[in-house]
């Protein structure tokens, strides 16, 4: 298991805290809450699979470039592929705005 933290610039605000997904095989849960700082998306990833720091960074960077949603993001991952990660992030963003 590995814990990774990232920050991305953001411009939109989270209106509703949101919970999406399950820590199930090939899946992840996303918790998104408003944070005090409106310009930053703070992301903490806990993943069961070690060594994918670069892939996580690339996946998250692409998402936050497209969806610069500020807030405190917590991802609890159980081996989701980048596509599933992006899907869950989009679901969370849609529900939170």
């Amino acid at each position: 298991m590995q814990t990774l933290t990232y920050q991305f610039p953001a411009s939109r605000t989270t209106r509703r805290r949101t919970h999406i997904g399950v820590v199930a095989s090939g899946d992840l849960e996303v918790l998104l809450e408003e944070a005090s700082d409106a310009d930053i998306a703070e992301v903490r990833v806990r993943t069961s699979v070690d060594g994918f720091d670069t892939v996580w960074h690339a996946t998250l960077e692409r998402f936050f470039t497209h969806t610069p949603l500020a807030g405190r993001w917590e991802l609890n991952d159980f081996g989701a592929t980048p596509a599933v990660v992006t899907l869950r992030l989009r679901q969370a963003a849609e529900a939170a705005q």
Binding site: M1, V22, V23, A24, E29, L31, S48, N76, F78
Partner: protein, 569 residues
């Protein structure tokens, strides 16, 4: 029941699956849409404190959704297990969430708002990464089901995917009504575990027809171990739950787990040396949970003479020669206490229960002996002398429903405790898994002898290592820091479940002083049980719980506050 085959294709296409939803979707599908409140939800962040130190990613709600609302206008709380997270395994937090929800429903019911509980069983059993705390959580859930059941209906549902296995199936066996789908399975020991413990001849875990033939919803309903078979359809399942809740609380003595007579008669009707096939069992037992004509359990029995710690300590503590309820269950009465132990019986007709395991007839015999004590109209104490390797892992056991048999024993211990019989357990040897749930964990006071031969756990070490994909060495290493994983009784005694760790000079060959000191500790425990609470709440307030069950206590406090702030007028 309307089977899928008998419905036309438009109905089939319009059907919305229940079991494909996640835990929250399933809970929401049952409750009335307005005013559903999720308690101890993900943003309360009471996650398992034991997983991250083992390198396992936790889930924010620990895989159980507690949703409070109404069911066709009647107050209800739903506990929905997320099967995707750790196989729906019961951990400290997820277990505490279920037992506290049941406790709060009972509290509201007593205060004049009968509040039903619906439990969605999708679980492989105790989460072995939290072993002893998971096992205890199951015991507390069983007790909480039984505390609520006389006040408001507790409805169990086994929908599918994972099914219901392990200790939680005992809780399912205690429910007012149990609803199952054809996809659902319920049993105590899962097929893979039986194959691992007893070999492929005993149970071929790859044989799906065999698995559903024994554990499947159709079979369980056909032999009366489930009350209703419903297709996987949100509307049908919701309607079945509403109907079951509307049925109210049946009279005391009529619940399946209270029918010691039915269990005894059913077991007497089968010959384990020439066991019927699951299909034949449908004819023999039928869907009504009633005694089988002409089948009475044998009463006169002589015990085998096989030496065991259980027999030794039972005889020593009671100070009289025990009598055999059946050859593998011994009873010894003093003037004010009845001592019970499960002992090895090499001639046990149930071949998977020859080494002191708690099997079908052992569960029945314990329940029958306890009922006999209750019928004596005294306030005689019950002392469980515990030395058992586990529950019995076997095919006949699952076919006949070992989870239901153990539920009968658990119900009897609870009935005695609630009726004012102080209940005490004294662990003198092994106390593992479902065996300990049946015989020991419902006691108000639990004592253990401080000896390397005393081992308390959710599963024996080799199996626990295999199932959690570790080596035994890795497991031992982790157990040094993760207290509930430890096999050392001194660590177990730190969990807040132990009311006395008793020093003896020799647990195998106790001296007169050893026996005297343990006997006086048992007497002290009986007195404490007599004056203490009749439920298991003291386990959350013990000094050990303050240190090692902080998460359980947080669940209790947070859920209680949320429950009372969402109180309906």
């Amino acid at each position: 029941m309307t089977s899928v085959a008998s419905r036309d294709w438009q109905q089939i296409l319009a059907r919305r699956s229940f079991l494909e939803g996640d835990a929250l979707e399933r809970a929401s599908a049952l409750l009335d849409p307005d005013g559903v409140a999720v308690l101890c939800g993900p943003f309360d962040r009471i996650e398992s404190p034991w997983l991250e130190p083992q390198g396992i990613v936790p889930q924010a709600d620990d895989g159980v959704v507690i949703a409070r609302g109404t069911l066709d206008g009647r107050p209800a709380v739903v506990a929905s297990i997320e099967q995707g997270f750790q196989g729906g395994g019961t951990g400290e937090v997820s277990g505490a969430k279920i037992s506290q929800a049941l406790r709060l429903a009972a509290e509201s019911s007593r205060a004049g708002t009968p509040t039903a509980a619906v439990l969605l069983f999708e679980t492989g059993g105790v989460r072995l990464q939290e072993a002893n705390l998971g096992l205890n959580a199951v015991a507390e859930i069983c007790s909480a089901v039984l505390d609520l059941r006389p006040l408001a209906p507790v409805i169990g549902l086994v929908a599918g995917e994972v099914g219901s296995f392990g200790g939680m199936s005992i809780a399912a066996g205690l429910c007012t009504r149990l609803i199952i789908t054809p996809q659902g399975r319920i049993g105590l020991n899962g097929p893979a575990v039986i194959e691992q413990e007893a070999g492929i001849d005993e149970f071929d875990a790859a044989d799906r027809a065999l698995i559903w033939g024994i554990d499947g919803g159709v079979q369980r309903a056909a032999i009366g171990l489930a009350d209703k078979l419903v297709d996987d359809d949100r509307d049908l399942i919701r309607a079945a739950i509403i109907e079951a809740v509307a049925g109210g609380v049946p009279p005391a003595g009529t619940h399946r787990s209270e029918r010691v007579d039915v269990l005894g008669s059913r077991l007497a009707s089968i010959d384990p040396r020439n066991a019927p096939a699951p299909q034949d069992l449908r004819q023999l037992w039928g869907p009504a949970f009633e005694p089988v004509n002409g089948a009475e359990p044998a009463t006169a029995a002589t015990s085998s003479a096989t030496a065991s710690r259980g027999r030794l300590w039972l005889t020593a503590l009671a100070g009289v020669e025990p009598v055999a309820v059946i050859p593998s269950v011994l009873r010894a009465d003093t003037t004010d206490a009845t001592y019970l132990a499960v002992v090895p019986d090499p001639d046990n007709p149930f071949h998977r229960a020859r080494n002191g395991e708690v099997g079908l007839t052992e569960s029945w015999a314990l329940a029958a002996a306890i009922d006999d004590v209750i019928a004596s109209n005294t306030n005689r104490a019950i002392v469980a002398v515990v030395d058992l390797p586990s529950q019995a892992y076997g095919r006949i056991e699952e076919m006949a429903g070992l989870h239901q048999a153990i539920a009968t024993a658990v119900d009897a211990y609870h009935r005695a405790r609630n009726g004012g019989h102080p209940t005490v357990a004294i662990v003198v040897g092994h106390a593992l898994s479902g065996g300990f749930l049946a015989h020991g964990l419902q006691a108000q006071q639990i004592l253990a002898v401080d000896d390397p031969g005393v081992e308390i756990h959710a599963m024996h070490k080799a199996a626990a290592a295999r199932i959690t994909l570790r080596t035994v060495d890795e497991l031992d290493e982790l157990a040094k820091t993760v207290v509930p994983l430890s096999y050392n009784v001194r660590d177990w005694a730190q969990l807040g479940l132990c009311d006395g760790l008793l020093k003896v000079s020799d647990a195998e060959h106790p001296t007169a002083e050893d026996i005297d000191s343990v006997r006086s500790a048992v007497d002290v425990a009986i007195a404490a049980a007599r004056s203490g609470p009749r439920d298991l709440s003291n386990r959350l307030d013990s000094p050990g719980a303050l240190a090692n069950r902080r998460a359980s206590r947080a669940v209790r406090d947070v859920m209680s506050a949320q429950w009372h702030s969402t109180e309906r007028p």
